[in-house]
């Protein structure tokens, strides 16, 4: 098939930047990575990009296609080529470009290192010299986080990081959760304190680009939420982000609805809130600052209050509260309808049923 590509070329030595179009002949099964290989081999040997495993596990070939971060090796080109679309390929965002599609990963790894990304076990070695026994259920808490291949697709698209480049970001924080959620790790409090720093979890703007782009189903935003839940459960809540979140809890169980006007002082503290007075007055003139009294109270709000009491006794605090829903949410990715084996074997066009040579073939 014919594939046309536009590639943003960049030379950090000269600063030259140019969008170049290439037209190639590629096999129908070709991925974006295969197409780049053809361009490099046969059209322009100076094209630079990273690659290695070409099977979605090494994390080398993160780049952007039409503005969205992808793994080049996971991106099949057939439909795009058939539609006559000419995609624009460029380097990942939020990282400095070195050449063409190659970014400098140094800032990325620096944030990874800031997580102290190694187990800090609460034991020397288990007494019997064997493994530390843990149930699969407990390990499931870090299952998604352990899928991360450090490709950078999440970081590329992080809206908060665009605005605050120092934000630790989705990749690093997912790695952090991988340890906070690990029952073998004994540094939970120290980690949560560190991840609650100025550029930590509460910098996340919940744009969900990381979840959307992650090619491995890590869902880094969910990992950040788990860290938030763990922080609040551990009483590490001095950050304005944590206070903001806690005010919603308070509102829900007292009036049912957000107590909007009190949100600013409850988040920022009274002193900071006073500094916002002029701004708040502007809003008040337009009815944007509803009076806190009498409060807007939901009917039967005692139910909401009692629910909180009840669930807090049920041991699903912190990250477990998130993890309990993952099994169901994962089904959204799976796309199967629970057919029986017989139904699967009988589907039109199905491959033949298995049989052993001594059995008569079942046709």
């Amino acid at each position: 098939m014919k594939v046309a590509l536009k590639i943003w070329r960049y030379d950090s030595a000269t600063g030259d930047r140019a969008l170049k179009e290439y037209e190639i002949e590629a096999p129908e099964w070709a991925t974006l990575l295969d197409c780049l290989d053809i361009v490099k081999d046969r059209h322009d040997g100076s094209l630079a990009y990273r690659k290695s495993c070409r099977m979605m596990i090494c994390g080398s070939c993160g780049m952007r296609m039409d503005g969205a971060a992808v793994l080049a090796c996971k991106t099949r080109m057939y439909d795009i080529a058939e539609a006559g679309h000419i995609p624009v390929v460029s380097a990942m965002g939020n990282l400095p470009i070195r050449k063409d599609l190659v970014v400098d990963m140094e800032p990325f790894w620096a944030k990874f290192m800031a997580m102290k990304p190694w187990l800090q076990p609460g034991y020397e070695r288990p007494e019997d010299g064997r493994e530390y026994p843990i149930s699969q259920e407990r390990m499931n808490v870090v299952h998604k986080e352990s899928l991360c291949i450090n490709c950078g697709c999440c970081v590329s698209e992080c809206n908060a990081m665009e605005s605050d480049p120092e934000f630790l970001g989705p990749q690093a924080l997912a790695k952090g959760m991988r340890f906070v959620g690990d029952p073998r790790d004994a540094a939970t409090i120290e980690r949560l304190e560190a991840y609650n720093s100025e550029h930590g979890i509460w910098d996340c703007t919940r744009c969900f680009f990381c979840n959307e782009r992650c090619p491995k189903g890590v869902d880094p935003r969910d990992a950040i939420a788990k860290l938030g839940a763990e922080s609040v459960a551990q009483g590490i809540d001095r950050d304005m982000g944590a206070k903001h979140a806690k005010w919603f809890v308070k509102s829900a169980e007292t009036t049912g609805w957000l107590r909007e006007t009190e949100l600013v002082p409850k988040t920022q503290g009274v002193v900071s809130a006073i500094k916002q007075t002029k701004f708040a007055l502007g809003l008040a003139l337009h009815g944007k600052v509803p009076p806190p009294f009498p409060p807007h109270v939901a009917r039967n709000v005692n139910e909401a209050r009692n629910l909180r009491k009840l669930v807090r006794e049920q041991d699903r605090q912190g990250a477990l509260g998130h993890v309990q829903g993952e099994h169901a949410l994962a089904k959204l990715d799976h796309g199967h309808a629970g057919e029986s084996l017989e139904e699967i074997y009988d589907r039109p066009g199905a491959a033949p049923r298995p049989w052993l040579p001594e059995e008569a073939p079942q046709k």
Partner: protein
Amino acid sequence: MIAKHDVLVVGAGCAGMRAAIEAFDAGADVAMISKIHPTRSHSGAAEGGINAALGNASEDDPEIHAFDTVKGSDYLGDQDGIQILCDEAPGDVYQLENWGAVFSRTEDGRIAQRPFGAAGAPRTAYAADITGHVLVQVLWEQVCKRDIPTYEEFFAWQLVLNEDRCQGVVCWDLLNGGLKTIGAKTVILATGGAGRLYTGTTNAYSCTGDGMAMALRAGLPLKDMEMMQFHPTTLAPTGVLITEGCRGEGAYLLNKDGERFLKRYAPNTMELASRDVISRAEQMEIDGGRGVDGNVLLDLRHLGAERIIERLPGSRELAMTFLGVDPIYDPIPVRPGAHYHMGGVATDVWGQTELTGLYAAGECACVSVHGANRLGGNALMETITYGKRSGRHAADWALSHTTVEVPESAERDAERELSALLDRTDGERPWSIRDELASTMHENFGVFRRERQMEEQGRIVAGLRERYQRALVEDKGEVFNSDLTGTIELGFLLDLAECMVVAGIERKESRGAHARPDDYPVRDDENFMKHTIVRLVDGAPQLSWEPVRMTKWQPQERKY
């Protein structure tokens, strides 16, 4: 020379990182060189698991593990090396777990283990079907913890030989450009395999046999180079791996009629026979017209959606992405693909080569623990146990020897070669040579080998080497010049292909991965229970033989 270290590890996959960690813990100043970031290493693509007789799923013993491995090797494995591997495996796996490896768990919270091919017990510890990824991550974490420096995106090109010792490595700095020489008292090669010799391979683009070729060019012997394992379940057309774990979980292999044909080849173990046996069986089915477009069918349907999703999510993802096949509903078309080099740089059981100060570990080394056929799950184990052992020995040696001297000529010679490559303005683009090498190796040196084809391949490789002398590097720049490194890699591959063909022609028997159905269809212990050794003499590969190190297992007929 930009730096020097006690121990310099070339390659940062499982073997390299494990070696570096051990050398560090032994007190050495250690650094790693890697042409890709450590977590990008191809060890991460290992899927099914790592073998150790933990006995978590049923009773097991290192002794049984060792026997399975000896038998699996078709009696070409060195039994002392195998015994060490199997004895140390459990402790080494526990250590990985203690470091934080995210293994799947049994009901009682132990490391879960699954059945694998040709194993007498469910011995393969696993993390779903991303075991390699999980191990790479935990080793990288431990490297980070120790703050072991990595020369990242440094392309190791030539070993520095001085006073009959290996004293460093000349590298090309891929990200910034320029030759950089790093001195070292000891160098450990851990560069992995050379699957890129073949069109259909499970191996990454990075698997170009760099360490083997560097050692060969430095005058060292390569052992059992004809022994290239073909994995039975890889995806057409490029060879992406579908784990043996699928069959470990109970998947069937079917021909086009739906017949579980392995009953006719390996009646006892069926789909869990050893890889060489299954790959041959598949090839016979395909050659006999019972395949589906050059494939057989890996059928997971009866495992059910839940088990597939829980235990084999990565395999499902690969099949869906690359073939559009959902294994819950349809069998996956698979065929044999080049997977693992049993051969490599000859070492002893401490990873030492015959050159003082030079070690090798992992796939680029040949202890040999795999002989003529490796068992699934033993490769990861070898990277850990022998990575550890070579790191320990190299550190001990380095700490008792003081000097590092890198003659200026080392970098100067490399500079000259580099100029020759980069100054060439006219010639053939390397891809055509690379693609021809890979397709002809597949055709003439694949699952089955025939004298005439191997000789033909010898001529083809010679012709390609000739053409390589005129290979044109188009990119003349400094920053991320992968055109240059790709061309150097092709040179490495051509050297190795030559060695493989020489060894393959001379092994006039069928053993493990080396199957000669037409002229020598059976194993010949009397004449060939010995290793091939190839080294360069005056620039040409020269073959010799070395006995197998046997301890207690006498060769028997191998049946599955």
